[in-house]
């Protein structure tokens, strides 16, 4: 083999090698773009089906009607009915999860001894990993009877027990994100506070918490979108009857529970009933989108540069 031949052989191999490198890069890029395709797909599906829906139902009716009876002959499509269930149950859940989650985060980040933190953090993670259907079972068959012991007039399906259990489910999300934010506050700030004679509690409340506020706000927003999008706990424990109410002691359907209810039945593809779940889904999507944007704004607004 002459030297000349050898070189050209190497060059040829280099060429195929470069080609292979390019090909791999393209494949990897395509894999990464799947996430964009998913978003586009979600938006396209929700919009096209909702567009069909809004050709039958005016947007004004959708937003102002006080009845939600899409499967009856006398059909009404007032999303407020479902929205009220979603809002009430989310408020109950947040009333549990925000105080408890914040306290746990402050405790774990500023007070807890090393061993407690090492045990508690994985445990909280496990709590967040329990399937939501199990929480739904727990709400329906344990929490509701327990609440009925104190309030005998409470119906078997109600937003209160579903909301309470949902709150417990959300605690790990809020506490772990908030705690991460607090732990990233530099030690120097705490030391400065201690040097001024502040106690541990004063430092935690007046120095660390405000400094970590952007992260804590992000945790709250995450909790809110979890609560708004939660499905199975509500479908199991809050009943699936549409009910325009602001009283957590009543049964009511949420947007998510309605979608489940329709999906459990057998609706023909392309019917108006089939399209309602996409309109409901679009509402849900816009709601979570609003909170996500709010989260970004809060995060940027209150970001502290150390």
């Amino acid at each position: 083999m002459s030297a000349d031949n050898f070189v050209s052989d190497r060059l040829a191999r280099r060429k195929t090698r470069n080609l292979r490198e390019r090909l791999i890069e393209v494949i990897l890029f395509l894999a990464a773009s799947v996430s964009v395709a998913v978003t586009v797909g979600i938006v396209a599906i929700l919009l096209t089906e909702s567009f069909q829906f809004f050709r039958h139902v005016s947007i004004v009716d959708f937003l102002t009607d006080t009845q939600w009876t899409p499967l009856f002959d006398d059909a009404h499509y007032g999303i407020m009915v479902l929205l009220s269930g979603t809002i009430v149950s989310s408020l109950v859940a947040l009333a549990v999860a925000i105080p408890l989650g914040t306290i746990i985060a402050i405790y774990l980040s500023e007070f807890a001894p090393f061993t407690v933190r090492e045990v508690a953090k994985p445990f909280l993670e496990l709590l967040g990993g329990v399937p939501t259907i199990v929480y739904g079972y727990f709400a329906l068959l344990y929490v509701t009877p327990a609440l009925q012991y104190f309030f005998p007039s409470l119906p078997g399906f109600n937003l209160l027990s579903a909301g309470l259990v949902m709150g417990i489910m959300i605690i790990p999300y809020i506490s772990s994100v908030s705690e991460d934010a607090m732990r990233s506050v530099p030690m120097a700030m705490r030391e400065g506070s201690y040097a001024m004679g502040a106690t541990r509690f004063q430092t935690a409340i007046r120095v660390v918490t405000p400094a970590a506020f952007s992260g804590i706000a992000a945790a709250y927003i995450l909790g809110i979108s979890r609560a708004v999008g939660e499905t199975m706990i509500l479908a199991v424990a809050a009943g699936m009857q549409p009910n325009l109410t602001w009283n957590p002691a009543e049964p009511a359907a949420t947007i998510t529970a309605f979608i489940v209810q329709v999906a459990l039945g057998d609706l023909p593809h392309g019917s108006i009933g089939y399209q309602t779940i996409f309109a409901a889904g679009l509402t849900l999507m816009l709601l979570t989108l609003f909170f996500n944007i709010l989260g970004h704004v809060l995060k940027r607004r209150f970001r502290q540069v150390y």
């Binding site: 494949i27 799947v34 979600i42 939501t132 998510t256 779940i277 996409f278 979570t288």
Partner: protein, 307 residues
């Protein structure tokens, strides 16, 4: 302030310090609420459902008679759906993360992909169900099948896999890459021979957590129209007469564990609730052991690897 005597100042300090103690108690109490709820949930379910856990429970089909009902079709359905999910989400997620960490140029396309991944993680799971209903079930014509469900859950856990993989890759120091380049490796050779093997435990953690999430997901699978009562199994490859094709099971109707539990929970009879408790127990033990495994791998990782 200046007028305070030493004893007054001491009193002030004690008072403020008392708050430390009070808050530590409150914090521990709040933590206990979370822990005790979990303990109550688990023991409650164990008390109601443990007596139903027998060999028959795992090998019987669901039935109208609660004492004969079992979870055979549910656990086989769950296993097959998870298989599809893993085969889709792991390659896609890892490849996407490798692109974002190792290849992606700093431009607006990369920015869009990154923002997308972050936002997808916040989309409620039932919305994925609607996407799958419109796209996989009707547009692609996969029907209400194992394939549709597996793909849906794969999209759902994709952000989890991507984020975990990226974190694992990011923790590998740059000198590893430089060393590989210095001996003439190409970018892909560096990635395949060094970056991926070193980030394997981190990727594994993310995949396990994602799968634990997927196995408990109910809402998106109900949304695509999975049936709640299935008393047969998907066709095994090459079995039966006429022989089933190797991939016929992908298009078979199915049910999964959480849907079976939902079905039993929503019945009025207490005997079915006991079945639901037993199914829930199996489900919780499965997700918890997967999560625990992930936590353990991560713990080992943090202890053993020092760059």
């Amino acid at each position: 302030m200046a007028d305070m005597t030493v004893s007054e100042i001491r009193k002030l300090i004690t008072r403020h310090k008392r708050w430390d103690l009070v808050f530590a108690m409150i914090g521990l109490f709040a933590l206990m609420i979370g822990v005790l709820t979990f303990v109550a949930l688990f023991t409650g379910m164990a008390m109601d459902g443990a007596h139903r856990l027998s060999w028959d429970f795992f090998t019987n089909f669901p039935s109208r008679r609660p004492e004969q009902a079992g979870i055979l079709s549910a656990w086989i359905g769950s296993t097959l759906v998870m298989l599809v999910t893993a085969c889709t989400a792991v390659p896609l997620g890892v490849a996407g993360a490798v692109y974002l960490e190792e290849y992606a140029p700093k431009n607006w396309v990369t920015d869009i992909i990154e923002i997308n991944v972050t936002n997808l993680a916040g989309v409620p799971s039932i919305i994925y169900g609607l996407l799958a209903l419109g796209l996989f079930v009707y547009q692609f014509g996969f029907g209400q099948s194992i394939l549709s469900a597996g793909l849906t859950l794969a999209l759902l856990i994709l952000p989890i896999v991507i984020v975990a993989t990226r974190e694992a890759i990011r923790s590998i120091p740059g000198i590893i890459r430089e060393g590989a380049y210095a001996v003439g490796a190409t970018k892909w050779q560096t990635t395949a021979d060094h970056i991926l093997p070193y980030s394997l435990p981190g990727i594994l953690t993310g995949v396990i957590i994602g799968m634990a999430r997927a196995i408990g997901e109910t809402a998106p699978i109900i949304t695509i129209g999975a049936l709640t009562f299935i008393a047969f199994l998907p066709p095994a490859p090459f079995a039966g007469d006429p022989a089933a094709g190797p991939f016929d099971w992908l298009f078979a109707p199915f049910t999964v564990m959480p849907i079976q539990m939902f079905n039993w929970t929503s019945r009025p009879e207490a005997a079915f609730h006991q079945n639901a408790a037993a199914a829930g127990l199996v489900l919780v033990v499965m997700t918890l052991s997967m999560n625990a495994l992930a936590i353990y791998i991560r713990y080992r990782l943090r202890k053993n690897i020092k760059w």
